[in-house]
Amino acid sequence: MSLHKAVKKLYLGLILFFLYAPILVLMVFSFNASRSRGNWEGFTLDWYRVLFNDPQIARALRNTLFVGVSSTVIATTIGTLAAVGIDKLKRGSKTIVMGISRIPVMMPDIVTGLSLMVLYLFIIRTLGVGRMGMGTLLLSHVMFNVPYVILSVTPKLRQLDANLYEAALDLGATPLRAFVQVILPEIWPGVVTGAMLAFTLSIDDFMVSFFTTGAGVQNLSILIFSMARRGVQPQINALSTLMFLAILAMLFLIHWRDKRSEKRLKERMGL
């Protein structure tokens, strides 16, 4: 039996090692004194110093965060309202709308990216104005994020008691107030899940950004891609080490807070 357990542990260990090996390599080499990857020439913090003085990386990071935050806010708003609207549609049209909304989720990123590029360039050429850049980049991120928000909010709406909204109206609330004070709190967990998903997808996206951005507007993924041809500079390793640690810390905090509120809830319920 214990041999059995040891085998299981060993197997999980090996898989985790496989998943973490490149990340460890990346982190370790962010402290490497040598510029070339592969050979270790002693410990240094130089790359972290270089990182904070690199305007190109700073710009890419700023673009990534800007697009991430704005597309999350916009997509969450559009997606939540759309989900509420879709929920009230008749069954037939609801199925069609949900089916079409699911397309970008199922489609390979490359198809999403190139089809949006075709759309933008088609419009730009037809109208003869505008060009691809930050605007199209942001629009594209909103576009691929909205379905994820809808898909996370819809189940919460389905659980919602339809009478709640009516009751609020009967008690004299305006439709807006009824939505904000009655519906929104009920579907809030779905909205938050959708927003977190949207932010993650936006930060990590390369493919759609690559096709829909314009000259001179780079996010981190595009910058890394363009560096990969010449060799990724060690300060990028330093940056991703910092970002990875920041996200880990954030996730731990969320997890820890959830655990605590769960505990408190259990205590309150006398469990």
Binding site: V25, R37, S101
Partner: protein, 289 residues
């Protein structure tokens, strides 16, 4: 009243989901002649399936698009199979008693996905290179070189590495949903460990497996980053072909045709898979994160 919210969204959907796909489809079945007139044609598709395409600046064997498509298909199938073989036991072990309480393990599986996937894939170069970490180690031990970079094997490794969590998580979710009493019941009825697994646990986890297969196969068949980084400059998959047609060559008509063929492949595989998955699990990355 609230129904009104649906209409602006339907317009949004028409512009950003339907119109782009229709445009791609339109470009795939048209061509432009020297005078700038656009006409209907199936030549783009014929060109894809024809054995020679003299206009491509590539080594001879790369000229055949079908070869590239079949290679994409083969690598996607292989990586899906490897992910399944490696991933199912992980999901299974995670749901057993001694681990099921520890969400840490789940967290550890998800965490790597929070680091930019381009960088994670790029880091494999450092490991696999001729002067990389593995060969350094092998050299010190006096063992022969392990030179797989810029081959199918490296691309396959990159795919398995990137998509393995997408196989594990849906299987884990569907295994976790199973009522443990079913296993007890099967045991009470005299089934051995293997019998319980083969006749109860595994059949019930098929929706998760199908979901996992979709989530590995689709991105693997369409990827262009993994072959780009680990396969080298001369290495092409369907995704690279599409990217090249749109961004380097600028032939939207042919590029669109390749994209349409790619979408057809996806639709066919989805239909085939939905045949095994009558439960109608929710596919897509949304189930993972």
């Amino acid at each position: 009243m609230k129904k009104l919210f649906a209409y602006p969204y339907i317009v949004w959907m028409a512009i950003f989901i339907a119109a782009p796909l229709l445009l791609v489809f339109y470009y795939s079945v048209t061509a432009t002649d020297a005078l700038g007139n656009t006409y209907f044609t199936l030549a783009n598709f014929r060109r894809f399936f024809s054995p020679f395409s003299p206009d491509m600046v590539q080594p001879f064997h790369e000229r055949i698009f079908v070869v590239v498509a079949l290679r994409s298909l083969r690598l996607a199938l292989q990586s899906t199979l490897i992910c399944f073989v490696l991933g199912y036991p992980v999901a299974y072990i995670m749901t057993r008693k001694e681990y099921s309480e520890k969400s840490v393990l789940l967290f550890m599986l998800l965490a790597p996905m929070w680091m930019n996937f381009l960088l994670r894939t790029y880091a494999w170069l450092t490991i696999l290179e001729r002067n990389g970490l593995i060969n350094n180690l092998l050299g010190r031990l006096g063992l022969p070189m392990f030179d797989i970079l810029y081959t199918d094997a490296a691309v396959l490794l990159g795919m398995v590495y990137n998509f393995l969590p997408f196989m594990i998580l849906p299987i884990y979710t569907s295994l976790k949903k199973q009522d443990p009493k079913l296993v007890e019941a099967a045991q009470d009825l005299g089934a051995g460990q293997l019998g319980v697994f083969l006749r109860v646990v595994f059949p019930l986890s098929i929706p998760g497996v199908v979901s996992g297969i979709t989530m590995v196969f689709m991105p693997a068949a369409a990827t262009f980053i993994i072959p780009h980084l680990l396969g080298g400059r001369q290495y092409f998959l369907l995704g690279s072909l599409v990217e090249m047609q749109f961004l380097n060559i600028g032939d939207w008509h042919f590029g669109s045709a390749v994209a349409v063929i790619m979408m057809m492949m996806m639709v066919v595989s989805m239909v085939v898979l939905s045949f095994f998955d009558k439960g109608g699990e929710n596919h897509g990355r949304g189930t993972v994160i």
